[in-house]
């Protein structure tokens, strides 16, 4: 499989775009801040994106759509999509978005302003108050008319978006996919995760002996994908003779824990299957993986269970969790961390596990809080969601 990443952008608390994200990584500067979400008194830290309140989308208004819009305006993303539409036709471009909140932020707000028990006029937005809101908005915003769908599998959503995109591309139903994800901070997620006692009142510390819960964050991100085996000329035209290394999705693995809605499988069997699945579809041995970006939420359970499997499968790989930079961005975690992985490969720079002071006992991982310069050819990223829904993505760097 050679699904080329033509361009990518990411907006999170760590930076409005990839350029700012790089700076945050290089300076080890976390974007987390104390929870100040209106209407919430939960004592925790969050990864909040600034400036979303100023964005006005008319009938598409929601915080989720505002963040999706902000991310879409970054870098060369919009220019590349426009170029694609001209070259292959807007109906030959697909949209696959991952999200778990899907604009419930707007529904929450609507319920605080009910007009005699009914939705007030400005909230009568059928295309926003439904779980496909993200793909509907992005297709409209980008003027893409090909197949569009929202994947909602909690925290694995926008990683699975890559798998779906890969299959659409190799089957030939579209020539390019705008794959991505978006999730925003809202009372549902804050109070929901709080009710499950998963949220920490401190900045999160993935993998740390003293970790005591997660921090929630919001993010949006996109990657433009083209099948280089089916469409090599399209890849070349879009990259316009760029001589930098090219990154592709080489494999993916998807699995289920079949255990519990909100606790991971205690032996990490599902996580293991997803990672093995990625190696199988990539036709690659585990010892080739140079870097693993962990799901690493900073929950007691996830980090222990995931680390055991990663240490067992990839003893020589460098590993890190990057969630202390922007928090756990839920349905957008997949795309956010895929982009971190891809960008790490471009720069041969592995981000450290920010906020790590003391690696927990029994976590035999090749990790530290420091960033590491090292040549990377293959990397893997994990996203594991509620309901035991797992996805691992394997990326390859081609030297040109």
């Amino acid at each position: 499989m050679d699904i080329r990443i033509i361009t990518y952008e990411s907006t999170s608390a760590a930076g409005i775009n990839v350029r700012q994200l790089r700076r945050a990584i290089d300076t080890q500067q976390s974007g987390l801040s104390r929870n100040d979400l209106p209407g919430s008194s939960i004592d925790t830290w969050i990864g909040k994106v600034r400036g979303l309140e100023e964005i006005d989308l008319g009938p598409w208004q929601s915080r989720n759509n505002a963040l999706a819009d902000l991310a879409y305006r970054q870098g060369e993303l919009e220019a590349i999509v426009e170029s694609l539409k001209t070259q292959v036709g807007s109906h030959r471009v697909g949209v696959v978005m991952g999200s778990s909140t899907s604009s419930i932020d707007r529904t929450e707000q609507a319920y605080t302003e009910l007009d005699d028990g009914s939705l007030a006029e400005k909230y009568r937005q059928a295309q926003v108050h439904n779980p496909d809101g993200p793909a509907l908005f992005v297709a409209e915003r980008a003027g893409i008319t090909g197949p569009a769908v929202t994947i909602n599998t909690a925290c694995s959503s926008s990683a699975k978006a890559f798998a779906t995109a890969a299959r659409w591309l190799t089957t030939g139903i579209v020539d390019a996919v705008l794959a991505g994800g978006v999730d925003t901070l809202c009372l549902s997620v804050l109070h929901g995760f709080h009710s499950l006692q998963l949220v920490s009142s401190n900045p999160c510390k993935p993998l740390d002996r003293n970790r005591d819960g997660i921090n929630l964050g919001e993010a949006a991100g996109y990657a433009v994908l083209v099948d280089a085996e089916r469409n090599p000329q399209l890849v070349d035209r879009l990259r316009d003779g760029c001589s930098a290394a090219s990154i592709s999705l080489r494999g993916y693995g998807e699995s289920s824990d079949a255990h519990h809605m909100s606790h991971p499988h205690p032996d990490g069997a599902g996580a293991r299957n997803a990672m093995l699945g990625a190696l199988t579809t990539a036709e690659l041995n585990a010892d080739k993986i140079g870097y693993v970006n962990l799901h690493g939420t900073s929950s007691r359970a996830n980090d222990l269970i995931e680390s055991k499997q990663v240490a067992d499968l990839f003893p020589k790989a460098r590993a890190s969790s990057t969630k202390a930079w922007m928090g756990h961005t839920l349905g957008a975690a997949g795309i956010t961390e895929a982009i971190i992985c891809i960008d790490a490969m471009h720069r041969d720079l592995v981000p450290g596990t920010l906020n790590l002071d003391e690696l927990d006992d029994g976590l035999e991982l090749n990790t530290s809080s420091e960033n590491t310069e090292m040549p990377l050819k293959y990397a893997l990223t994990n996203s594991f969601g509620f309901g035991g829904n797992n996805c691992s993505l394997l990326f390859e760097k081609h030297q040109l």
Binding site: D132, T145, I173
Partner: protein, 275 residues
């Protein structure tokens, strides 16, 4: 017309549930009736969900699980071996309503169970947990084109991975506050088990209920009108999952060499043929 053909799939099992029929056979018996009778059950049994969980399982979850169980049994397939694609066009609006009401009030404490049940992939989660399936499961939303998008996604996956797959369409009545926007008043679920059609399968006719051919291509289309009894017709038109009634019709009557076109996206349509 520029189009992409998906290699044919055998439909090997079906399941269904609605206020008017509790399974696929009951559906087939009634679909040509002039009048439908409601059986009076508020929710399906979904008996594969363990007792303690079943009591707290939301209606959309029960709908999806019931139809899925039936389809696997009809296909004589071990559910633990099947990857799955679940789709709900509207999500669990009763839980959305509960959460939004609670969060708009003074006491914002949410029930942890209801919170983890509110994820869109609750059905996929309950399914894989209840039957012990560790294969890939997906949970999609496609609003008004949920049926065609999920069918395409599952067909592409079955073909890419050369594996049989479970596809389940389900949508529940919309909570009152969101009703003016999202309309649906009916519970409905339909599930299919499909497998890539091979020469060997084609020879073994007893297993196959029909062969499904799909293609996607440029152009817009409208949902075809179906000659259904009144309440089912309304269901077909307002319940995104119930657009799968079209598949059921084609499966019963077949439309070999006369493909039917359905909306897929703003600029594409999907042609369906079941022979």
């Amino acid at each position: 017309m520029e189009k992409t053909d998906i290699p044919p799939l055998s439909i090997v099992g079906c399941g269904a549930w609605s206020p008017w029929f509790e399974n696929w056979d009951a559906f087939v018996a009634q679909v040509s009736a002039d009048e439908l009778e409601e059986h009076g059950l508020k929710a399906p049994a979904a008996s594969v969900i363990p007792g303690t969980e079943r009591r707290r399982a939301p209606l959309p979850v029960k709908l999806a699980i019931e139809a899925s169980m039936q389809a696997c049994a009809a296909a004589s397939m071990d559910p633990t071996q099947l990857p799955s694609v679940f789709v709900s066009g509207l999500g669990d609006t009763q839980l959305t309503d509960y959460m939004c009401r609670t969060l708009a009030s003074e006491n914002k404490a949410l029930s942890p169970t209801r919170f983890h049940n509110s994820v869109h992939n609750a059905a996929a989660g309950y399914w894989t947990i209840s039957v012990g399936c560790m294969r890939s499961s997906n949970s999609l939303a496609g609003y008004e084109v949920s049926m065609s998008m999920a069918l395409l996604e599952a067909a592409v996956q079955a073909n890419s991975e050369q594996s049989p797959i479970l596809i389940t369409f389900y949508d529940a009545p919309v909570a009152p506050v969101l009703q003016p926007l999202l309309h649906n008043r009916h519970a409905f679920a339909l599930a299919l088990v499909v497998a890539p059609a091979t020469a060997a399968d084609a020879a073994d006719d007893s297993k196959t209920l029909g062969t499904l051919r799909l293609s996607s291509g440029v152009g817009q289309s409208a949902w075809p009108e179906l000659g259904l009894p009144a309440p089912l017709k309304e269901c077909y038109e307002t319940n995104p999952a119930a657009r799968s009634l079209l598949l059921a019709e084609l499966l019963i009557h077949k439309n070999k060499d006369k493909p039917v076109t359905v909306p897929l996206s703003n600029g594409t349509s999907m042609a369906l043929e079941i022979s």
